[in-house]
């Protein structure tokens, strides 16, 4: 256990090791760790930002969806209304058409009846004239008596 020059050797070695450590070992490690800390901090930062963005987007999406639903409901309602309206209109039209047809038919029937009456009257008057001729056994000027016959026929 003698004290000797070893102490100086040890001191010099110590100084050299510390110097080397300070010059070549410490700085790169410190730098890398600082960089990593920054990276992690940035990563966490952007993660929280992304989270916020996501929330915003979700909110927007749900709002859009709600709006779309509302709109579609509105459109559907309008369409229904219009459909009902159209059906009503069509019904109305059909009824009007039907009535018109009925009117026309009725008019035609009346006309037909009138024509039939006229024809009948003419035939009857002819028959009457013929009958009268036969009865009088003389020829009666049809023209001269047609006025009288028409009067008769009208009375029928």
């Amino acid at each position: 256990m003698n004290m000797n020059m070893t102490i100086l050797g040890q001191s010099i070695a110590f100084a050299l090791f510390v110097w080397f450590c300070m010059k070549f070992v410490w700085p790169p490690i410190a730098e890398a760790m600082r960089e990593r800390q920054k990276k992690i901090a940035d990563g966490l930062d952007s993660a929280s930002r992304a989270q916020r963005d996501l929330e915003l987007a979700q909110e927007k999406a749900s709002q859009t969806l709600r709006e779309a639903k509302e709109q579609s409901a509105q459109i559907l309602e309008q369409t229904n209304k219009r459909a009902t309206l159209m059906i009503e209109e069509a019904k109305e039209q059909a009824r009007a058409e039907g009535e018109r047809l009925i009117e026309a038919a009725k008019a035609e029937i009346t006309q037909e009846i009138n024509r039939a009456k006229d024809e009948l009257r003419a035939q009857i008057s002819a028959l009457i004239v013929e009958g009268a001729e036969k009865i009088l056994e003389s020829s009666v000027d049809a023209k001269a008596h047609s006025e009288l016959v028409d009067k008769l026929a009208k009375q029928l």
Binding site: F14, V25, A30
Partner: protein, 278 residues
């Protein structure tokens, strides 16, 4: 070995010494007496060799990690190195309040280097010296921190840093004033203050060196005593085996703790050297 227990212990506590013998000139010491006669002009080859080897191992490992260092996902070695790095860095940040780029690397070097030197103690006491003996070396002591030269060598370095930074921060006048006017702030007390402060200053490196040396040396002696039982029959040998195991487990605590204490005290002393009281 055929030595008596006393010889065995003494043999284990003798460093391999190369020095200038007053009569025989520069040579390897062949006995403890010869080593003692060499006085100051001698080197402990084993202490220097092992401590430098451990220092180089430290620098090699850490330099390797530093070269491959990435701010991305770290690998195994880098993880380990970063763990040490952060441990020391946090400690320095908490303890040392000045700004000095030297302190943290200094603390890291001290911690890892002393830890590595201390950890040589876990090797059974006869393995490496036995191997050295086979290679022709009579004396071989592998734990550098059981040599006061090594511990004083380091504490001397710390002491020089304390003086250097005291003068750099406070100026030569300020440093002298601090030595003269604390703890008693009166000119009449200057001699008393000087004596007290200089003793206090000198105590720092001495306590640093002796604490580490004392702990390591005592532990080493116990290991050697335990090793003695291996030659004393089966029963004692088995008992010794158990004791060796227990003592080695105990050193799981002692070895990092002593490295840690040396580092923390260094930081504290240098922190005090940076503090200006004015």
């Amino acid at each position: 070995m055929a030595d008596t227990p006393v010889e065995y212990i003494q043999h284990h506590l003798q460093n391999m010494t190369y020095g200038k013998h007053p009569e025989l000139g520069w040579k390897m010491a062949e006995s403890s007496a010869e080593a003692a006669e060499m006085g100051f002009m001698a080197f402990h080859v084993d202490t220097l060799g092992w401590s430098i080897a451990m220092g180089l191992l430290f620098l090699f490992l850490f330099k390797k990690a530093a070269n491959a260092v990435t701010s991305g996902v770290p690998g195994g070695l880098q993880n380990f190195v970063e763990m040490c790095f952060e441990f020391v860095d946090n400690l320095v940040k908490e303890t040392f309040h000045g700004r000095n780029p030297l302190i943290a690397p200094l603390a890291l070097t001290i911690f890892v280097w002393i830890f590595l030197m201390n950890s040589l103690k876990w090797l059974p006491v006869d393995w490496i010296p036995g191997l050295a003996h086979l290679l022709g070396a009579d004396y071989f002591k592998i734990v550098p921190t059981t040599d006061p030269n090594a511990t004083f060598g380091m504490s001397l370095g710390v002491f020089l840093l304390i003086i250097f930074y005291s003068i750099k921060v406070k100026g030569a006048g300020g440093f002298a004033k601090e030595l003269s006017f604390t703890p008693f702030n009166h000119w009449l007390f200057i001699p008393v203050n000087l004596v007290l402060e200089i003793i206090g200053l000198l105590t720092k490196p001495i306590s640093l060196a002796l604490r580490l040396f004392g702990n390591m040396y005592a532990g080493e002696v116990v290991f050697i005593l335990i090793a003695l039982t291996f030659g004393a029959g089966l029963f004692m040998g088995l008992l010794g085996l158990g004791m060796q195991w227990i003592w080695a487990v105990f050193h799981l605590l002692v070895i990092p703790l002593q490295a840690f204490i040396f580092m923390v005290l260094t930081i504290v002393y240098l922190s005090a050297a940076h503090e200006d009281h004015h």
